[in-house]
């Protein structure tokens, strides 16, 4: 990931990382509710005012989202091969992000924290909405649908929802691996989530 650019560029990245890291560490230590911006700023050795130059809220810093992911996702959607169905594209995008987070060790550290804190989970949803707007726009265009079409919007939103559901389920039942839960969720979405009461779980799945 582009570490080009001059000193200035690198310093900004460094500061941002330091703030995010401090925010996460403190949140894990004391619980997200009991961390103040002042502490985070102090730990990262910058002023409180500078904190707000980097993040709009405390929660945003703790979430520490990587903007790179959205960029890559949008690119992936725009350049999806013609034979690939939209939901499959999103599936691949999600798995990509997941793999990235796991390799960082971020998933275990942040995942638990976020799902355990209402405030953080809420904040995650809020930022997800903005992402989803952009993803929807990209997918709508990729599918050649008109601007107000229901399907692309629904595909993106439900894919996002699936991720959240998976995270939540993983919290309550950590025995099943996340990837497996995710695969099941996307299969259900693809085939239609509905079923008659009492019907078998997976009818006609590979």
């Amino acid at each position: 990931m582009g570490a080009e650019g001059g000193l200035r560029e690198r310093k900004k990245l460094q500061t941002r990382a330091a703030l995010a890291e401090a925010a996460l560490r403190l949140a894990l230590e004391k619980g997200p509710e009991h961390v103040t911006v002042e502490e985070i700023a102090e730990a990262a050795d910058v002023s409180v005012r500078t904190f707000f130059n980097y993040f709009p809220h405390k929660e945003h810093a703790i979430l520490g989202r990587n903007p790179e992911h959205l960029v890559r996702a949008l690119e992936r959607i725009r350049t999806a091969p013609p034979y690939e169905s939209p939901l499959t594209t999103l599936w691949l995008v999600v798995r990509d992000v997941l793999r990235d987070l796991e390799s960082d060790g971020e998933l275990s550290r942040r995942g638990e924290l976020i799902m355990g804190s209402p405030t953080l989970f809420h904040q995650l949803m809020l930022t997800s909405i903005d992402d989803e707007r952009q993803l929807t726009a990209a997918l709508t265009e990729r599918m050649g649908e008109p601007a107000g079409a229901v399907r692309p919007a629904l595909i993106v939103s439900t894919a996002g929802t699936a991720c959240r559901v998976v995270m939540e389920l993983h919290k309550t039942a950590p025995d099943r691996p996340v990837t497996e839960l995710l695969d099941e969720a996307f299969h259900l979405l693809a085939q239609g989530i509905d079923t008659a009461f009492g019907a078998d779980n997976q009818k006609g799945t590979s």
Copy 2:
């Protein structure tokens, strides 16, 4: 609804209603962002401190949700007829709430306001999450699934998502009626939202 109880009880309801009403009116007049709790309290003729005895945030007062709706929805899920598929149940629940809001004239007053304001929309989502948890629990039991099952959680969440998407699409393209958008969304969910790029919109629909 239950005007029993003594003077004290009635006065509390009155104060609560006055605060909610003032909050909504002021939000409509000046935009939700530009209303302060102080103004709301003043308009309802109580102190700021008292406002916070009734509502945890400003947004909560403006949203003024009717807790009755969730109760009815839960009941509806628990007593769903055996031949009714889960998604259908949720569909009916949603239409029920929608009809109720429309008859109150609440949908037009609050709906526009909420969808037009990021803050309010976000707040709505936050409260929706809590609702969805309860709905999921009810549906999981109704379907006879184990606690961590993916499908019921996904059904509830995606149904909620569908509502959101519909509200959002309705905002950007108000020509199509909400009920029509909603029906399309639920149909897509039932049949599987995915489709190959460039395929027809609805394959095999009635």
